[in-house]
């Protein structure tokens, strides 16, 4: 398939390695990968701040950017949920509604695309590490993705997946919530990342780089040894080791 990468703005600027790993894994799986550099941000920060009129402009722009894409794949459950779920709602009743629905149907989160569209669970990776998984809230509760990333992880040779009771609890990022209510947000990541750190795993893996920004930011500040790792980075690393 011809896969058009959807690289969220903060991955572009802060964690480009996640985007590169996404491209690498998809290429390894035989996909033709393209990146339209006219993309910027999906508009979710404005949407979540109640500025829906402004967010609509970002949404309309994305419709234009991806109008010729065969499929759109993004390594972020949150930003994909914005395009897949919230664009059609935001643009409901406008002349863009049909195009928003068309984009929604062609847009997939990275692990969802591999498992449910390509029907692949074993990407041919090997990694002798212990990991624990963090379900990003948008991936879990807006896109209903729970098993997809786990299927990919379980198929990695040598990898041990440690599940915790806190896997589904929110990391406290929530976009601008993290800086509008910093004390609550930090309390949430303390509970979340603290519990995951106690597993003794090498990595906290997630399909959502925004959660990893929050979790990683706290782990780094607290001097914890466990590292955040995006699932695409893990798979890319495992492909190299295979």
């Amino acid at each position: 398939m011809r896969v058009s990468l959807f690289i969220p703005c903060f991955i572009d600027q802060l964690t480009p390695q996640v985007g590169l790993a996404t491209a690498k894994v998809l290429k390894k799986l035989g996909q033709e990968v393209e990146f339209n550099s006219s993309q910027t941000c999906c508009g979710q920060p404005s949407y979540n701040s109640g500025q829906w009129e402004i967010a609509k402009e970002g949404a309309i722009r994305s419709l234009e950017v991806f109008k010729d894409a065969e499929v759109v794949v993004g390594p972020s459950g949150s930003c994909v949920a914005m395009m897949k779920k919230f664009y059609p709602e935001l643009l409901h009743g406008t002349k863009y509604e049909a195009e928003a629905k068309r984009l929604s149907q062609r847009t997939f989160e990275f692990s969802d695309f591999i498992v449910s569209q390509l029907k692949i669970t074993d990407v041919g990776a090997t990694l002798h590490k212990k990991v624990t998984y963090h379900d990003g809230c948008h991936a879990l509760r807006e896109l209903r993705l729970k098993e997809e990333p786990r299927k990919l992880l379980r198929a990695v040779k040598g990898l041990e997946l440690i599940e915790t009771e806190e896997a589904e609890s929110c990391c406290g990022f929530g976009g601008l919530f993290a800086v509008k209510f910093p004390m609550i947000s930090t309390a949430m990541v303390e509970v979340k990342a603290g519990a995951l750190a106690r597993t003794g795993a090498d990595y906290i893996v997630s399909s959502d780089p925004s959660c990893l920004l929050q979790i990683g930011g706290w782990l780094s500040r607290e001097g914890k040894v466990i590292r955040p790792l995006h699932i695409a980075e893990l798979l890319a690393m495992g492909i190299d080791h295979a």
């Binding site: 690289i7 703005c9 991955i11 572009d12 600027q13 802060l14 964690t15 480009p16 985007g19 590169l20 990146f35 550099s37 006219s38 993309q39 910027t40 941000c41 508009g43 920060p45 404005s46 979540n48 701040s49 109640g50 500025q51 829906w52 402004i54 402009e57 970002g58 722009r61 809230c137 879990l140 509760r141 807006e142 589904e168 609890s169 929110c170 406290g172 990022f173 929530g174 601008l176 919530f177 993290a178 800086v179 509008k180 209510f181 910093p182 004390m183 609550i184 947000s185 930090t186 309390a187 949430m188 990541v189 509970v191 920004l213 929050q214 990683g216 930011g217 706290w218 780094s220 500040r221």
Partner: protein, 463 residues
């Protein structure tokens, strides 16, 4: 003067930093999670049961006028008297008049959040009527002079020692750390009050239209005594509590217990149908029901958030909410805490002063998944944020998002802006910038990469 938002920021900042209290609340909820999972698993299909419970409420709420009329006719034919209250002030006046007319010297109450909503106890006390809460948790909170911490578990934030000290101080009892002994102290104290009270005030969990009964759910038996012993029984209920048929209770009662308290069924589920009839030995001589609107018809008129009237006040959304678990119930400053409180308080008390609660959410959606009647809670928080933009102009937000949008509409500018940010981050991180400075107070950012993805991608294509 401090407004509700600045009080919230102050309180939630304090409580979320209190690691011990946070842990205490988590531990207190530990047993609930375990039992809830056990009893949810007994349902052949919990999701279908949620559909059924939601439909039972939906069909009444979306036909509210007709179902209410049917209920009222049946309730009055059973001998009860209905009073309509448009708002809290009207409801207080109706109840105060009824209490005065009964020549009451003592009033006893069972747990009812709607009475908290209209601040009834204050009004009764100011009018010279002593009122005593008979639910154990509410009794404790009344002695403390404090609002309920959680609308189902009013004193869940208290350790046994604190309760023991409270009883020693107010009731003169010996200290004990046994929950059974503490319960017996309260029971002994309250028993004589049921007998001497002239008026008993209760709430209602459901108003059953086809039988004209009110359904009250409780674990302690205190509501039955409150309703049955005094001469006059006054119940207060929001109009949205009405349901079509008694059969609806077969799904709503067990779900209320399981979702909210992790019980298969609540201990006492009682249907009250009118006062004592001629020849009957027990029951009140008069049975009054005050039906309260207080902005519920305003919510009814909002098709987006109408489903928030489905709420059966089970408390499941609080129990799973990471915000509630970290800031605690009192920081909200509302009658109804947690996600449902953040959704409906702007309707009850005004969006202008209460929209900050909708902002204080990561929108994780755990509440929506837990709600037994499928209220779309976290999306309602988003809608409140959108609605707030129209009624509370926020210049900072307008400029911030306007500028952000100007940048993201122009890829070259976005790319340049990102580059400038990355190149100057070493300097920026020391400046008290909004958002960035706030983030860096408690969290790091990853090592800033020399190249953005788009730059790295372009380079890889040119190799």
């Amino acid at each position: 003067m401090l407004n509700s938002k600045s009080i919230f920021i102050k309180e939630s900042t304090l409580t979320s930093a209190d690691g011990d209290q946070r842990q205490f609340i988590r531990t207190a909820l530990g047993g609930y999670y375990k039992n809830r999972d056990i009893y949810q698993a007994r349902y052949r299909n919990w999701e279908l049961a949620r559909d059924a419970a939601s439909l039972a409420k939906w069909s009444a709420v979306n036909n509210l006028a007709e179902v209410l009329e049917k209920f009222v006719a049946k309730f009055e034919s059973n001998g009860g008297k209905v009073h309509w209250a448009r708002d809290a002030a009207e409801a207080r006046k109706i109840i105060l008049d009824l209490v005065a007319k009964a020549n009451a010297t003592a009033v006893i109450k069972s747990k009812c959040m709607t009475t908290e909503e209209i601040h009834l106890n204050d009004a009764l006390e100011k009018a010279g009527f002593g009122v005593v809460e008979s639910d154990l948790g509410e009794f404790i909170q009344q002695l403390r002079g404090e609002a309920p911490y959680h609308f189902v578990f009013p004193c869940m934030h208290l350790k046994r020692e604190a309760i023991s000290e409270l009883f020693t101080k107010h009731l003169g009892t010996a200290p004990t750390d046994s929950p059974e002994e503490l319960t017996m102290i309260a029971r002994k104290h309250l028993r004589k009050l049921y007998i001497t009270a002239d008026v008993g005030i209760t709430g209602a969990n459901f108003l059953v239209a086809d039988t004209g009964q009110i359904s009250i759910t409780e674990n302690e038996g205190n509501a039955r005594l409150t309703a049955a012993m005094p001469r006059v029984h006054i119940a207060l209920s929001g109009i949205e509590k009405v349901i079509n048929t008694i059969d609806d209770l077969t799904v709503l009662l067990p779900m209320l217990a399981t979702a909210g308290a992790g019980q298969p069924m609540t201990c006492y589920n009682t249907l009250y149908a009118g006062p004592k009839k001629p020849g009957e030995l027990d029951g009140p001589e008069e049975f009054h029901l005050v039906l309260l609107d207080n902005a519920r018809t305003q919510i009814l008129a909002d098709p987006e958030q109408r489903d928030s009237l489905h709420c059966i006040r089970c408390g499941a959304c609080l129990n799973v909410c990471p915000i509630f678990k970290n800031i605690g119930g009192h920081a909200y400053g509302t009658t109804y805490q947690g996600p449902i409180g953040s959704v409906i308080t702007p309707h009850l008390r005004g969006l202008k002063d209460w929209n900050h609660l909708s902002g204080a959410s990561s929108l994780c959606g755990a509440c929506t998944d837990a709600c037994p009647v499928r209220i779309d809670l976290h999306h309602h928080l988003l809608q409140n944020r959108r609605n707030a933009v129209k009624v509370v102009p926020n210049l900072f937000d307008r400029v911030f998002h306007g500028t952000f949008n100007f940048v993201i509409q122009r890829p070259a500018l976005f790319s340049l802006g990102g580059k400038v940010f990355r190149k100057t981050f070493g300097l920026l991180k020391h400046l008290p910038l909004p958002y960035l400075g706030t983030w860096l107070k408690s969290r790091d950012l990853p090592a800033i990469p020399p190249k953005s993805f788009r730059e790295a991608w372009k380079d890889s294509k040119n190799v």
